[in-house]
Amino acid sequence: MADFAIEMKNVSKELGRKKVLRDLSLAIPKGSVFGLLGKNGAGKTTLIKCALGLVRIQAGGITVLGDDPGNLHEDTKQKLGYVPQSDRIYPWLSVKQIINYTASFYSHWNDQLVHSLLNDWDLDSNDKVGLLSEGQAQMLMIILALGHEPQLLIFDEPVASLDPAARRQFLKTILKIVSDRECTVFFSTHITSDLERVADRVALLKDDKIDFCGELDVLKDEVKRLRIVAPVDISEELNISGLIFCERSHHEAIISVRGFKPEMKIAIEKQLKAEIEVEDLNLEEIFLELNR
């Protein structure tokens, strides 16, 4: 248990009549940068809210840093940082005031970090929060979540309204934090290129279940697109385990598979006397293939 920052076991969650999560299990190891992928409406936000105890779950068990999210201990809260997708915060306060306000809740607050981030992101600490743009407000929320140097950082679509420069800055900050100290980062996104850069583990949420969960590199090794050219007619006889998608004419086929191993290629080559080209897929392509 101590090895996981978040552990979800057989969690089910319904919103109204719709099942959003069904019997879902997920474990996020400590120290990892964990990316959660999924189509719009797949339930990423709900999963995160369940993990934080912001909503009640219908079945299953969750622990966050070894604590029950439905009833978090104050000490656990000191170690948590969360940035929601969008947030409404007191518009009449200035950036400086909202920082002081948030800081006052925590026993530890890194002023230096907060100031350098404000600098990096060109946020004026005297600006009123209500006048910030969507992106700036998101930056501010990120800064507020980093100030107390939490052990577990959870972001819901953190970069959705950030421009490319700010997005890069955000990733850099996250990487700096992970390499400086023990910290687990869990975030949902649909911008796969960001995930590829920073995440070491990913989970794919599809049809209220986790479709894949593990190391990003393993995912990339396992999901491949094969281009098969065979001397015989192969339009009927393709029996490959882990087939996701197949497109074929008489002698040629383009198939995507999961659970790919080099031996598999040799086996098919022998079986069909075919020539096979293995194509590496990047995360975006994998995402598209798996969501077919």
Binding site: K49, D75, K77, S86, P91, F105
Partner: protein, 459 residues
């Protein structure tokens, strides 16, 4: 911890609305005592009204603040968040009551306000305010708005309420007990509020920028909550209506834009009907209030201004979507005309409900001799035509760009309303009739001007 509590207290003080009304409260209290010191009892009482009314507003703002503070993720994730925020809110209110105690201390016996009365009323106000903000849901908002305005109007009769409460200890105790129980329940609920709870996302918001954001965050208005209580009520508007383009008459087109309002209106009828026996019992029992309900001339603002506010508040939520709706294949001029028409129909209905439940029905139950007089009915008609003016005038103000003009218009409107409230009933029948006619005329002119201005407006 002290730093933290200081920050939470500052959170209130930095809120412009809160600090402004706190200022009014304090200056009302100070000037009331000052006039008392100068033996000017009339002015003292007027200043006290400010102090009293501002507490109602403060209670309301605090309700919004509490909801705002607790209906978000921070409440669950920041250490000690809920306890301290609820603590600070209670602290504020205790301070208000303590201040009122101090204010009341060594008051000459000629003035009838007492501690018990003050406390009871203050707590009752807080409860109403909590309810409004707690269940800040579309239609229910308006239902509770009515209650709220009723309290506000009662405040004008504050003397008699104080008198009544002071003279009936059990009633005072009952109020106090009810308030404390409700506050306790509210506190417990707020300590555990989660996102799945139905009241979580329905927060009365101000100003509009925030409102628009929250509307988009919540998504389109969900009829789900209504249908839980009343079966397929909202569906009646949705399923059976033809498309906008198939509708011929102005009336049916106006209904098209208005179908959500209609579902709410039905709810409103039901709610008032359920409520009526209780308050008639209350009216019969409380001798002092007897006068108030039985004498229609005292209810002018309740009958004329409140329905307008309800209609305007409802539409205010929808107006932010006008620009978006105009992208649909509709023409701007008829669109605005139909909306205006729909609002007017609503106004008529609400006004009718108000005179029925707050004047005619109590009159019948309490056997009010006024019912046989023509003047009474003319006066009721005046409340309707004045409601029309207020509606037209506020709509006109909504199309003004200059803030100064708006404040000026608002001031004139307020003064006019007070004048009507105090004086209208003192005139003979003929003048009342003329008054109504003039009101209708002026209203018509304002409506025309508003229509033109909105047609030219940018969305």
């Amino acid at each position: 911890m002290i730093k933290n509590i200081k920050q939470i207290i500052l959170l209130y003080l930095r809120n412009p609305a809160f600090s402004l009304i706190l200022g009014i409260y304090l200056s009302g209290a100070v000037s009331s005592r000052y006039f008392l010191y100068k033996r000017d009892f009339f002015m003292s009482e007027e200043a006290f009204t400010f102090m009293f009314l501002s507490v109602i507003c403060l209670a309301y703002i605090m309700g919004v603040q509490i909801k705002r503070q607790l209906a978000n993720y921070r409440a669950s994730l920041l250490p000690h968040y809920r306890k301290r925020h609820l603590g600070v809110s209670s602290l504020w209110y205790v301070l208000f009551i303590l201040f009122a105690f101090l204010w009341e201390k060594s008051l000459p016996p000629s003035i009838i306000f007492t501690r018990a009365g003050l406390t009871g009323i203050y707590l009752a106000c807080l409860c109403v305010a909590m309810l409004i903000t707690w269940v800040g849901y579309l239609s229910l908002v308006r239902v509770f708005l009515v209650l709220y305005f009723a309290v506000l109007i009662l405040a004008i009769q504050s003397q008699s309420i104080f008198h009544m409460i002071d003279n009936t200890p059990w009633l005072n105790g009952f109020f106090l007990f009810l308030s404390l129980v409700m506050l306790l329940l509210f506190g417990i609920r707020m300590m555990k509020l989660k996102e799945g709870n139905f009241e979580y996302s329905y927060l009365l918001t101000w100003p509009p920028k925030d409102l628009i954001k929250s509307q988009f965050a919540v998504g389109p208005q969900k009829p789900g909550f209504l249908s839980v209580i009343f079966g397929d009520l909202p569906a009646a508007g949705e399923g059976k209506t033809k498309k906008y383009t198939e509708k011929r008459s102005m009336l049916s087109r106006a209904f098209h834009w208005d179908y959500i309002e209609l579902a709410e209106l039905k709810l409103f009828w039901i709610f008032l009907a359920l409520l009526t026996p209780f308050y008639l019992w209350f009216v019969k029992m409380a001798n002092e209030l007897h006068l108030f309900y039985n004498n229609t001339y005292a209810n002018f603002l309740l009958l004329s201004v409140t329905p307008v506010l309800i209609v305007i508040c409802g539409n205010y939520r929808r107006i932010v979507f006008w620009g978006y709706e105009l992208l649909k294949p509709v023409k701007k001029e008829p669109f605005i005309l139909q909306h205006g028409f729909a609002m007017l129909m609503n106004l008529l209905l609400y006004w009718f409900l108000f005179i029925l439940f707050f004047s005619i029905l109590p009159g019948l139950v309490l056997e009010n001799p006024f019912l046989n007089e023509l003047k009474y009915w003319l006066y009721l008609f005046l409340t309707g035509s004045y409601a029309f003016v207020v509606f037209a005038w506020i709509s006109y103000m909504s199309s003004l760009k200059s803030t100064r003009l708006m404040i000026l218009n608002g001031l004139v409107l307020c003064l006019l309303s007070l004048l009507q409230f105090y004086e209208a009933a003192n005139f003979p029948r003929f003048i009342i009739l003329t008054n109504s006619t003039v009101c209708l005329l002026i209203g018509g002119i304002f409506i025309q001007a508003t229509y033109r201005r909105w047609c030219r407006a940018e969305f």
